[in-house]
């Protein structure tokens, strides 16, 4: 049975381009999305995925080209029009009001009554409940958003779209914040939506997900669509190649390590925050020189508190117990500068907020936190030549790409290049003994991930003890010597070197095994 194109293609774009100043964020995009399918769009950061979805959702208007929905040409100038046309979007950062209930958030903007008429909350709640049950979106409609987990918040966002009877659902990086089991639950929901005839556009950079859930996949690179294929006919490495434009090592080479003395020793650490919640609970582990100790865990299981503790950033009022030593030196009440001075480096999770000054240029950021080192000084100021030489070396070694002529503020660089700057600075610290990495490749494109992983292994082989905290199990498994599974503030299970080495050869099963200990 063959249907005409107008019937099967619910959304089609032809020759759509978007220009910002000199830059073409999207160039000549043509795309057909068929009704009742899950269509994945993949691409590196900055490839133009967000611009594309924003145009479909009416947040941006195309510079040229046309978009049509169900064969009708449309030109949205605001999301409201897109919503009316049956398009809904779940943003990467949720747009919910924490002090309202799930129901109130879902009906917001579509209350179905006039300004002064009573809100039909009961009726709405009933309808939400029935939609939720149909698609496995379990939530309590009366709960405040602030009481919900991230996974539940996402369900509320999806319900918001279904409540408005959206036919096309755009999900922007929906799994970035989910645990493995929540991700599976989400995919079940998406499949059930597809069965009902809804169309899902999935924006992601995780290739495994694309392969497991989508029907069609489009790859974007530098603002263009470079391929659109049925998912069944492509492999993970095909997609990676298309995204980056060259062959990439998806898994870094990891030669056997030779661990030495214990460098970091955390024993029976406890951490109670200002509000009296126990965040770390009898936490103990060791990291040896020349090994990478990976901490796997869902965010919010004490990783942040552990970092706070290690970096001397605990707020006054927190109750801390147990002991932390680096090379047998107790950290005690040392502040971050004092911790750094005994040869500890930290690559914090939130790069832009904690690791760099985004208005400063590259050279100023490469010395940030290390600006007290004598080698950079001349009288009361900086030695311009020393800083320049150091900058050039780092830029070379880490392949940091930016326009050196105009020396732009760091915020103009891509996420990958920003992270390379932070990593370069921290690995290069003189006398480095312990390197703490928190989500080192978050928001970093595939090409840069490859190089960052290589540099981490390199540092390990030079005898640096590395503590790796990451929510990406993939990353933990491919890099770590040993893995500690963190759950509710303590290490619930530890995989030995042999176990990890064996697990790495059949990563998918091992990922599930690790996953069991963190949920």
């Amino acid at each position: 049975m063959k249907r005409s194109a107008e019937e099967t293609n619910i959304l089609s774009l032809s020759g759509v381009s978007k220009q910002f100043g000199e830059l073409w964020a999207n160039k000549d995009i043509s795309l057909e999305i068929s009704s009742g399918s899950i269509h994945a769009i993949v691409g590196e950061n900055g490839a133009g995925k967000s611009t594309l979805t924003k145009m479909i959702y009416g947040l941006l208007t195309p510079t040229s080209g046309s978009i049509s929905v169900r064969g009708q040409s449309v030109r949205f100038t605001s999301p409201r029009q897109a919503i009316t046309a049956g398009i809904g979007m779940v943003h990467q950062h949720f747009m919910l009001i924490p002090d309202l209930t799930a129901t109130e958030n879902i009906v917001l903007g579509d209350e179905g009554s006039t300004l002064f008429a009573p809100l039909k909350k009961k009726e709405a709640a009933r309808r939400i409940q029935s939609i939720a049950e149909n698609h496995g979106l379990v939530i309590d409609p009366g709960a405040l958003i602030s009481e919900l987990s991230v996974g539940e918040e996402q369900r509320v966002e999806i319900l918001k779209l279904l409540y408005r009877e959206a036919e096309i659902l755009i999900l922007d990086e929906p799994t970035a914040v989910l645990t493995p089991s929540e991700t599976e639950q989400l995919f079940t929901t998406l499949k059930s939506l597809r069965k009902e005839g809804k169309t899902v556009i999935l924006i992601t950079h995780k290739l495994d997900e694309v392969l497991s859930v989508s029907d069609m996949v489009s790859v974007m690179r530098r603002g263009r669509i470079v391929a659109t294929e049925p998912t069944g006919s492509v492999t993970k490495s095909d997609l990676a190649h298309l995204m980056v434009g060259r062959n990439v090592l998806l898994r870094v080479e990891n030669p056997p390590e030779e661990p030495g003395e214990v460098v970091l020793k955390v024993s029976h650490a406890g951490f109670m925050d200002v509000k009296g919640r126990q965040r770390l609970n009898n936490l103990s582990f060791e990291v040896k020189a020349g090994e990478i100790y990976g901490i796997a865990g869902v965010e919010g299981n004490g990783q942040n508190e552990l970092l706070t503790l290690l970096w001397g950033m605990a707020e006054p009022g927190c109750m801390i117990s147990g002991s932390v030593t680096v090379n047998n030196i107790p950290l005690g009440d040392r502040n971050s500068a004092e911790v750094a001075s005994i040869g500890v480096s930290l690559v914090p999770e939130d790069r832009l907020k904690h690791a760099v000054i985004s208005d400063f240029p590259v050279d100023n950021n490469l010395i940030f936190g290390r600006h007290r080192e004598k080698k950079f000084h001349r009288f009361a100021g900086f030695n311009a030549k020393a800083v320049m030489d150091y900058t050039n070396t780092m830029v070379d070694q880490y392949d940091i790409r930016y326009d050196m002529q105009s020396n732009p503020p760091l915020s103009n660089l891509s996420g990958g290049n920003q992270q390379k700057i932070v990593l370069a600075r921290e690995i290069d610290r003189p006398g480095l003994k312990l390197l703490i990495l928190a989500q080192p490749t978050r928001g970093v494109d595939i090409g840069a991930i490859e190089m960052i992983h290589k540099k981490i292994i390199e540092a390990r082989d030079k005898g640096v003890a590395i503590l790796l905290i990451s929510a990406e199990l993939d990353e933990i498994i491919s890099l770590s010597s040993r893995i500690g599974c963190m759950y509710k503030g303590s290490i619930r299970h530890e995989f030995s070197m042999e176990e990890v080495r064996k697990g790495r050869s059949c990563a998918q099963d091992f990922e599930k095994e690790v996953g069991m200990f963190i949920t």
């Binding site: 500068a337 930290l346 000054i357 600006h371 009361a380």
Partner: protein, 340 residues
Amino acid sequence: MQNRFFKLAAPLFAVVAALLVSALFIMTAGRDPWLIYQKMFSMTFGSDYGTGQIVFRTTSLILTGLAVAIPFKVKLFNIGGEGQVLAGAFAAAAVGILLPPQTPPLAAIAICSLSAMIAGSAVALLAGWLKVRFGVNEVISTIMLNFVVQAFAGYLLTWHLAVPSTVHTPEIIETAQIPMFDSIIGIWRKSPANLSTLFALAACLVTWIMVFKTIGGYEMRAAGLQPEAARYGGINANAHILRAMAAGGAMAGLASTNLVLGYKHFYEAGLTSGIGFIGIAVALLAYAHPLWIIASALLFGFLEYGGLTVNAYVPKDIFMMVQAVTILMVLVLTKTMRRA
């Protein structure tokens, strides 16, 4: 590149626009704006005395501008310049009266200036301490301290220091007086322009070096831009808050040397006449850059004195309007520019 051009163009455009707006008001006052502006120029930059007056006013405004600009680098808004100048002026006069008359000139000037800087600094530091210790918003505390300082100086003046039946103190010793340009090289005749101007220019240069060339300045700017990141980088943001407030207050205090040591030679009620507040505008127009402040202060010095010269034809308030409109225009322009 575009950015840099705009940064220069916005203030210039704002000034021109403000002059045009005030031209409208001059017309409603029944005068020919062209003639008024002509007269203003010939009586200010066109005359030796007028130029001296502008230099004198510019000197104070450079320093009160710095008083706002330095704390601005750590994202603090020091509204207390007025109180800090006042504290400085009072201290300079009090010390200048009490010093033995045979104190050598350089020492006397140095002691009085230092006292002024310490007094201004102390007032600002109090606001900084309230911020660091209790989280009190510095805008509120500096405004409040303006009143405190004013009242306290008023009390001391009336009850202890004033020459009977006047509102000013006795004159400071002769050696503490900063010489006029007129008496040394014979320029800007009879105008109050004095060697304090050199202090002000030096202060700009020193501030520029401190902020942009030293390690402390690097830390301070980092702490101002991203306090959280600074903490991760081992920078003590609170120390920089205190340091910046202290330095700002010292600049305001130094401004008083121009008034007390260089011109009046005594302290009187109402001596500071709002220069602390105009300093806010000076700093804003210069994007708080220590060197641009010189140009910005010159403009405000010109408008201030220029307004007085044509006061007989149009109310000088029109030129206060020019100042205010200029600032509003700059703020609006930079905001719209950010959005674009």
